[in-house]
Amino acid sequence: MTAGSHNARWLAIYLPRLSTDRLIRSGRAPADDRPLATYTKEAGAFQLTGVDARASALGLRLAMSLADARAIQPKLEAVEAEPEEDARALDNIAAWCERFTPIVVLDPPEGLFLDITGCPHLFGGEEALRKLIVTHLNAQGFTVRAAVAGTPGAAWAFARYARKQTLSLAERVAAKQRGEGRSNKQAPGRLNAPHPPPPAPRGGGGEDLRATLSPLPIEALRLEPDAAAFIRRFGLKTIGQLTEIPRSSFTARGGEHAMLHLDQALGRVPEVLTPRRPPPMVFALRRFLEPIFTADAVLEVAQVLCEDAAPKLELRGVGMLAAELVLFGVDGRDRILPINVSRPLRDVKALMRLFREKLNVVGENLNAEFGFEAARLDAVRTAPIEERARALVSLEEAAAGAEKISEIVDILSSRLGGKRVLRPQLHEEHAPERAAGWRSALGKEKKKAPEKKPPADSVMRRPVRLYAPAQAIEVMAGVPDGPPIRFRWRRVTREVVRSEGPERIAGDWQKREMTRDYYRVEDKQGRRYWLYREGLYGESEEKPRWYVHGLFA
């Protein structure tokens, strides 16, 4: 994910007390008013890795040794750090953030980046979105700071080091020029309005960033500790000072690292970030003023999202092969309704039919306990839609028929599941049970099997139904290695009046399969069976066993 486009907007989230907040949330905080800290064993000594607000107020700091901390504050409640649990908490918050944008980047141990390009108007503007996130996370018991800027680096810096995390004046002016900041009551049927026109190129393409970043300490550039120390040795304390010195003086590694981060923060050099989940090529997002509960409301929302996604898909000349409707619960849990289709689709009506089927199935199990507050439609997989040349009417008709069949396959699979709607497949295998199989009718056939013609004499060599596994029978054979005279299957004895065989099929020696002798037999009533004897007569001490493998119709 390249974060360097001119109109990109990034929201950085900083959770300075993630580890202690997590403990307090999970009820593992001290019951009385004692301060809480987490520690880890670093280089043989116990060091503080997290302090709660109370501990901070009492003068406890990160990286302080546990012994010193206890000396200052004997009542300190110290808990060993659980980095995995902290990471999980961060990931949960990131997942929750996906209701604002599909592009969420983890910035461990205590940060997140959200690419909110083109999203803020859905939430009443950038500041409203920032506040919404901060308020919600606060309510969940997390200390949080967040800031928005044109680059991830700048947003990171503002979130951690700016006094106010609201937009700087310069940025706000720019935002105004872009037509944001107006509370935007969602017009129904419109989801993501087209991007506002880009602002007139600002002087130096980031002057405002330079001005706002200048007063911040150099640590705001996400520097590694040794790089920060290296820069400070030059007597440079702020980003402003760093921007003013000639670059050539910084050729050492620490300097280069700092310069790269500076350029990224200023938007001179793009920064590549990897989102938590690969972002969909096309998505549509909507947040509701009131939580929704019913399947009908979900369908309405799906319709709006489909209508919004369709032109975006059209623009790229693609349709969806797989789509996900993600419903974001007020309780922070998501429901995902996936649909898969056999050919790329972007027709709203067709998509809606599939979602309707899906909801028919899910229906009562939607579990919209507290309602859904947002929904997103992701095009998970897409493929080009070929515009057919309208040449011949008959071709048209054939295509329409194929179109209809694939639509039916989609509907059936959507309701019953892809594993229940099948097309046959032949394999080059000797063993009858492996010579054919079934594949989901949604997929494409890997290779076209040669069309098998019925035999010229119309006599069937293979049954239309096959038992898997084959069913054991008791057989009376006239001669030990001959066809059966009568056999007993499903508690009924059947008299054989005709038989043809044996057709010998060798087993796979690697699988230790025995040779089979197959017979096609007909009983008194005219019913026809495919039987086999397993193992050759005299091959082993045991009597060979017999099975019904299939029925001829």
Binding site: I408, L412, R465
Partner: protein, 211 residues
């Protein structure tokens, strides 16, 4: 114009289910056009009677690239799938219901008829039980002895009795051999009514209504 969009087929007695299916597949194969064949069945029936075997189906004259099989968990789902499949123009849909459960009621069979009429598709309703139904015909199927020299098995063969016929007299019995290669029935012996004979499909009462 498919004049007779819905037909019912059942085994003449328990144990003849394979023949009833064979007769349905043969009809479907002889009718199948570009839209192909949908075969919707209950999971229970598939496991009871053995699973459809593509190698044998191809020999039987069913074009594999035009076959879609739906293995539904429940009876209602198989029925629903058949209704959906009937929306494919000129498709042939086999709706196979197992022996368990009540026969389809009149309302359900009317729905099948309606769906089939709407898109000129045809439905073969395969069920052992014989209840009231909107179908044009009902055929009761038993296997017939091979039409071949002793100790050889001939092509698939059936005794088909027309037990209900909304378009004319019923009660005729035919002994038929399935010519999979040419995808048509050949009539062997004649018992009963000649006028509705199924020779080459020309006097096929099912086809006669298909203008």
């Amino acid at each position: 114009m498919a004049g007779a969009p819905l037909h019912e087929i059942g085994p003449a007695a328990t144990g003849y289910e394979a023949s009833a299916l064979g007769f349905s597949l043969a009809l479907a194969a002889s009718w199948a056009g570009p839209a192909g064949i949908f075969w919707a069945g209950e999971e229970a029936a598939f496991s009871e009677e053995g699973a459809p075997y593509p190698v044998g189906l191809a020999q039987y004259g069913v074009a594999l690239d035009k076959l879609i099989v739906i293995r539904a968990k429940k009876r209602e789902q198989a029925l629903w799938a058949a209704e959906q499949a009937l929306a494919a123009p000129r498709a042939v849909v086999i709706c196979a219901l197992g022996a368990h459960g009540k026969p389809l009621d009149l309302k359900a069979s009317r729905r099948l008829l309606l769906f089939a009429e709407r898109s000129h598709s045809r439905c073969l309703l395969l069920q052992p039980a014989n209840g009231p139904s909107a179908a044009w015909t009902r055929w009761s199927i038993s296997p017939a002895e091979s039409n071949a020299p002793d100790d050889e098995l001939g092509p698939p063969s059936f005794v088909a009795e027309l037990t209900r016929n909304r378009a004319g007299p019923s009660g005729a019995r035919f002994t038929l051999d399935w010519n999979a290669h040419d995808r048509r029935f050949a009539q062997r012996a004649l018992v009963g009514d000649l006028s509705a004979a199924l020779v080459d499909g020309s006097a096929d009462p099912i086809r006669a209504r298909a203008g």
